[in-house]
Symmetry: C2
Subunit: 255 residues, 2 copies
């Protein structure tokens, strides 16, 4: 994202979250560090560095209220929105609204990245067979329903069996544990879709080279993700790895 | 269950599933072994041993269609019900109906066991505090919705965060992985409820000493399960272990 901004001639300032952002990446550009619960400091830093447009980027491990240690500004926000009652998407939507209320323009990562959204159909050489297509259809229906509960975006289905449902462990964690849960026989598909009404500027479905590597290591036969909604990180590498491993990566339109 | 039958003066014959049943347990009573896909053999064995009433007992790892290797009788059944399209409860309901169609009376495990269903309210000394009560309410709503998809019966919630959703790994597997997913701070509750319309004779929610041990090892503060619907295995030991570990075990009425 930093590279895309530079290529587009945008000035970049990174507000890096303690314990979450990658130090090596951040130190190449103007930046400052901030606790996730330090909202007042964070807002001051953004203003002091003349930030007008904001992108929320990278995965953040959602903390418990205690480990968040909110400052007065964060506490005011959390009391108003009700931290405990919100799922991830509910919370991130509230964060986006709050940042806009503070005068920032929040834009989606896809507006900055060269990578377009996942198109409909297969991305590489491999296409899902009829068995995989049935698992994709079943998984897409389930993932959408579980997304509606604001729990997770992804499921793994093999021959009609639901091997796993994503919650706070994330898609990588889901894929890792599915290695031990696979049954004999072919297949196993990761299906990832957008939550209904999801705040796209905060938490779009993402797949990337790591997703392909973990899916292959877990013995799955492919990845199906929502076309249009899903961001593909490093598309060329995703295609190369998927073709090499014999996995399909396909953009789908869930029900 | 064998002991309960003996105490009640019932004759016992165990049809043990290859790779699933515990050899040491089975060898103490009249029994025969059968592949899970060997339906014709299984039905013949039940008839040859004059079985009239059947109880489905113990956990069975649901196989893929390939590893099931159905015989002609199982294949006929599976073709009719559609193995791939059914969740666990859908499949088990179909199995119960099929056994009844073959002339057996299928009865629930609770009719044979001394252990009654979990009553409403706390089972041991410990009661959920207000934080845990909020997590229980959130978890019960989610678990019911996920149960309606016929995926799993259980979720783990900590301070409003959904640490995990049960799928094919089962409740023990869910608890094991939640150890690494807990956030700082108190709490974490296992919430387990019946799937809406669940076939109780085949797959009731169950908790037992193992559930308490794993919940304690994962740092949870308690277990909430659906009153009336949940079977408690070895209640005295559940209470002893929960009190010793400072965990609550509470029967709830989900929405």
């Amino acid at each position: 994202m930093i590279e895309s901004c530079r290529a587009a001639g945008r000035e970049v300032f990174v507000l890096a979250l303690d314990g979450e952002a990658d130090r090596d990446v951040v130190e190449t550009v103007p930046h400052a560090w901030c606790r996730i619960g330090g909202a007042a400091t964070g807002l001051d830093l953004l203003r002091a560095n003349a930030v007008g447009e904001l992108v929320l980027a990278g995965a953040v491990r959602r903390p418990s209220l205690r480990s968040l240690r909110p400052d007065w500004r964060a506490a005011k926000f959390l009391a108003r929105v009700g931290y405990r009652a919100l799922g991830d998407d509910g919370l991130l939507s509230a964060v986006v609204k709050e940042l806009e209320r503070e005068g920032f323009r929040v834009i989606g990562a896809d507006q900055l990245l060269d990578e377009a959204a996942l198109p409909e159909g297969p991305l590489g050489q491999i296409r899902p067979g009829p068995d995989a297509a049935a698992d994709i259809a079943h998984g897409a229906r389930l993932a959408r329903a579980i997304g509606a509960l604001d729990v997770g975006q992804a499921v793994v289905v093999q021959q009609g069996l639901v091997l796993g449902v994503e919650a706070i462990e994330g898609t990588d964690g889901l894929l890792r544990r599915c290695a031990a849960l696979r049954r004999d026989g072919p297949g196993g598909v990761l299906v990832k879709v957008e939550k209904p009404g999801q705040e796209r500027r905060a938490d779009r479905p993402v797949i990337g080279p790591q997703t392909v590597v973990l899916a292959a290591e877990s013995g799955l036969c492919g990845i199906a993700a929502e076309a249009g909604a899903t961001l593909v990180i490093d598309r060329a590498e995703v295609i190369r790895l998927a073709d090499a491993a014999g996995l399909f990566v396909v953009g789908i339109r869930p029900p």
